[in-house]
């Protein structure tokens, strides 16, 4: 298992490094259209061929990975923070408060968040740059994706609320705020970390879904989701299998995160 984790960490690190160094590694700008070479096969000039507009696919995958792999963890951090806040308060207060807050969380979970995202996107200012639009998209994903994690965290807090160290601390007159900050949250760290790691692939896939709907990152900025729109052309994949490159990167990242999470759960 340890060997697998090392390999996985190496793969994720390699992808992250490549994504971070996209500006250096990419042979062309992600937006440059080589219009005389549309749909080119892989060559020395275009390592993964070109798309319909003649843009270098390798460069776009590098830049797309950067967008998705940097912003998905940020969105995961936002959602985990929110989930920790709501889940801890719910689990700590318990009783009627917990029931009421849980009902609110259930209501939030039942919201058609995709339509909400589409609506919010429609309200975005016109002069928003592609970079800002992708940041807004991931921030929204983070703000909307906390509810499921909050339930898990609430259950964890509920289990710890009546544990011996909590009863002792309460008996010694520890203030609830200190109780949460010093006693509860440090013991919740494994759950929070697992929720954070689980959320990353969820947000990468959520952005990919938005990308498939044409509502993801604005052109010409690539993202893994946006790049996967090429896969809608299923028959072209058989002829040009290099179109699968963004999917392979996505699957590698998501699988790596899942292995890291499962390994962490086993350890904890």
């Amino acid at each position: 298992m340890k060997y697998v984790r090392v390999v996985v960490i190496t793969v994720v690190a390699a992808i992250f490094c490549a994504a971070l160094a996209a500006s250096t590694l990419a042979p062309a700008n992600y937006a440059t259209q080589f219009r005389e070479n549309p749909n080119s096969p892989p060559s020395h000039r275009f390592l993964l061929g070109t798309d319909e507009l003649g843009r270098d696919r390798f460069s776009r995958v590098l830049f797309g990975s950067r967008v998705s792999l940097l912003l998905a963890p940020a969105a995961a951090a936002i959602s985990t923070l929110l989930a920790a806040l709501v889940g801890t308060v719910m689990g700590y207060l318990g009783g009627t408060w917990e029931k009421m807050m849980m009902a609110a969380v259930d209501l939030f979970l039942s919201l058609p968040w995709l339509f909400l995202l589409i609506t919010i996107r429609a309200l975005l200012p016109l002069d928003l740059s592609p970079i800002m639009s992708v940041i807004v998209t991931f921030t929204l994903l983070g703000l909307l994706g906390w509810a499921a994690s909050a339930r898990v965290i609430c259950a964890g807090v509920r289990a710890l609320r009546h544990s011996g160290f909590m009863i002792n601390a309460r008996a010694l007159g520890c203030h609830p705020r200190r109780l949460i900050a010093v006693q509860l949250l440090p013991n919740m760290r494994p759950i929070l970390a697992a929720q954070f790691l689980t959320s990353i692939p969820v947000f990468i896939l959520a952005e990919a879904n938005l990308g498939m709907l044409g509502l993801g990152v604005s052109e010409p900025l690539p993202s893994l989701g946006g790049l996967m729109r090429e896969l809608e052309n299923i028959s072209a994949i058989a002829v040009q299998p290099w179109r699968l490159a963004p999917l392979i990167v996505l699957v590698a990242c998501v699988s790596a995160f899942q292995i890291l999470v499962s390994g962490r759960e086993v350890n904890s």
Binding site: A31, E52, R121, L215, S218, P220, E232
Partner: protein
């Protein structure tokens, strides 16, 4: 074989064929939710499709012969130099709910259509001059409608006027067309069922339509539409993308049709609405003719044709497609892609280049956003190509894809957009059908709609020319007047015309009676005679 046996065999075959053709549920996709089910308020493709499938009209333009054919009216006569039209109606017809059809319904429809409070886009085409219409009924089946001024191609305009019932409690839901609205789930589908009171019969006396129902799936994504076609979930695709056409052609050449250049156009325009919530300096650029001309000159239309449409399109010069042989102005000069010309025009208009960035006289960097509808890959690609073309003259364009309702909201109500890239679907050959686009008071005068008085002298000139051609019956004179409109549009470029796509479509082998043409609605223009053969029969 005796005569009797032969007759029995023929009868058996006819029965078998009738059974095969009998029931059927045709499925195809709409690319957006219909904005309205009111036949007189139709303003978008989806609503147009519903109106075509459900609405009964007095006369119908045969999309193949491009000649008018009688429908609810058995005959018609234009008089008073195209000011007046008299229809003789078919007797004994009923609306879908059983309400009898008569002259009162036609009168009611025309009064509603011309009611300024309704703001009917179709009504604009009849308004060649201010004033009220007069309606006179003679007996139970004759009605004369008189307009304040001559209306050109008056009879053809009625192809788009679906007659509504004056008495039905269902109001506009009572229809005279082959299908009737059965169910609508926003974002999902529109189900139409056979109108049992539809009046047409085939040559063997069988009541039309053959199909039991039509399911219109709301599907913005063209790739998914194609996948559904391949899986047999839908049977027809209108306005097929060039790439998909090529793909389908390699797999199933008998299922794809190229009817040549379509009448539709793809264009881009700048928001010139004075009250639009955009900075004043940007509005000043957008209202500058040189600026629009420069943008137009910087766009490489040939590349768009080649890369976006795989060659299944032609660069557009103006609002009329070359497929429209009569109305197309052959003297219009084709757009040439020339960034040098573009820059010269901009420099002449006070713009200047500063470290690769184009700036206006006040120093503002020239940046604007182009909105288009999400899910339309061709438009998204066109926008990306335009973005790169404009970058070569120092202009930064950002692309914003929006779902269609949000886009329409911005275009027609909030006017919160800078430039828009969309297409125009032409249902009619005659420029009269575009009155609501060209008249400055028109609701569809997209760059600056519903003006109280023309904002510019050239718009005033277009108003005058359009009204003049609409009030003239002489084709050559009308042609001259509309040619002038095309010239003004070519010069002023309120719409920057990009391409005319070819009319590409796909029809599954199970569909019988489809005859794809260039004119909308390409594949299902004779829906009442279309049928599906059963799977057993196709084997």
């Amino acid at each position: 074989m005796s005569w009797k046996s032969l007759k029995q065999l023929i009868a058996f075959c006819a029965l078998a064929l009738a059974q095969c053709l009998g029931q059927g549920e045709l499925h195809f996709c709409l690319h957006a939710d219909p904005k309205t089910f009111h036949p007189l308020l139709v303003d978008d493709d989806a609503s147009e499709a519903i109106r075509y499938l459900t609405g009964g009209v007095l006369v119908r333009l045969n999309r193949r012969s491009q000649q008018l054919e009688p429908e609810l009216a058995t005959s018609w006569k234009i008089s008073e130099q195209s000011r007046s039209i008299t229809f003789t109606l078919r007797r004994g017809l009923k609306f879908s709910d059983g309400t009898p059809f008569g002259v009162e319904d036609v009168a009611f429809t025309m009064r509603s259509l011309m009611d300024p409070a309704l703001h009917s886009p179709i009504g604009d085409a009849f308004r060649s001059a201010p004033g009220e219409i007069r309606i006179k009924t003679v007996g139970k089946d004759k009605i004369t409608i008189t307009f304040p001024a001559p209306v050109a191609e008056l009879d053809k305009l009625f192809d788009q006027v679906a007659v509504m019932s004056a008495y039905s409690s269902l109001k506009e839901r009572a229809v005279l067309g082959p299908f009737v609205l059965a169910e609508y789930k926003p974002g999902s589908f529109v189900a139409l069922k056979r109108n049992v009171n539809y009046w047409k019969v085939d040559s063997s006396g069988r009541r039309l339509p053959y199909l039991d129902s039509v399911y219109l799936h709301i599907q913005q994504n063209r790739e998914l539409e194609l996948s559904r076609f391949r899986r047999g979930e839908i049977q027809i695709i209108n306005g097929l993308d060039g790439e998909y056409y090529d793909r389908l052609q390699t797999q199933s050449p008998s299922e794809v049709f190229d009817a040549g250049p379509s009448f539709d156009s793809e264009e881009m325009w700048f928001n010139q609405v004075p009250t639009a919530p955009i900075p004043a300096y940007k509005l000043a650029w957008f209202r500058s003719t040189e600026f629009r001309q420069a943008i137009s000159a910087a766009i490489n239309r040939q590349d768009i044709v080649r890369l976006v449409f795989n060659g299944h399109a032609s660069p557009a010069v103006g609002p009329v497609s070359p497929a429209n042989h009569f109305w197309f102005d052959t003297n219009l000069e084709a757009h040439s892609f020339d960034t040098g010309v573009a820059l010269r025009l901009l420099l002449r208009n006070g713009f200047h280049m500063s470290v690769g960035v184009l700036r206006d006289a006040q120093g503002h960097a020239v940046e604007f956003s182009i909105v288009t509808n999400s899910g339309n890959k061709a438009r998204e690609r066109m926008a990306v190509m335009i973005q790169q073309d404009l970058a070569s003259i120092g202009i930064k364009a950002t692309i914003l894809t929006l779902d269609f309702p949000s886009l329409i909201e911005r275009m027609t109500r909030s006017f919160n957009y800078e430039a828009c890239l969309l297409g125009l679907v032409n249902m009619d050959l005659d420029p009269n059908s575009q009155m609501n686009i060209w008249l400055s008071s028109g609701e569809n005068h997209q760059w600056n709609p519903a003006q109280k008085s023309p904002a510019t002298p050239w718009e005033a000139e277009i108003d005058r020319l359009m009204r003049a051609q609409a009030s003239t019956t002489e084709p050559a004179k009308r042609k001259r007047l509309f040619n002038r409109v095309q010239e003004i549009v070519r010069e002023q470029e309120p719409f920057i015309y990009l391409v005319h796509k070819n009319a590409l479509s796909a029809v599954a082998r199970v569909v019988r009676g489809a005859d794809p043409v260039a004119l909308s609605p390409q594949t299902y223009w004779q829906i009442d005679r279309m049928s599906l053969i059963t799977e057993r029969a196709t084997r």
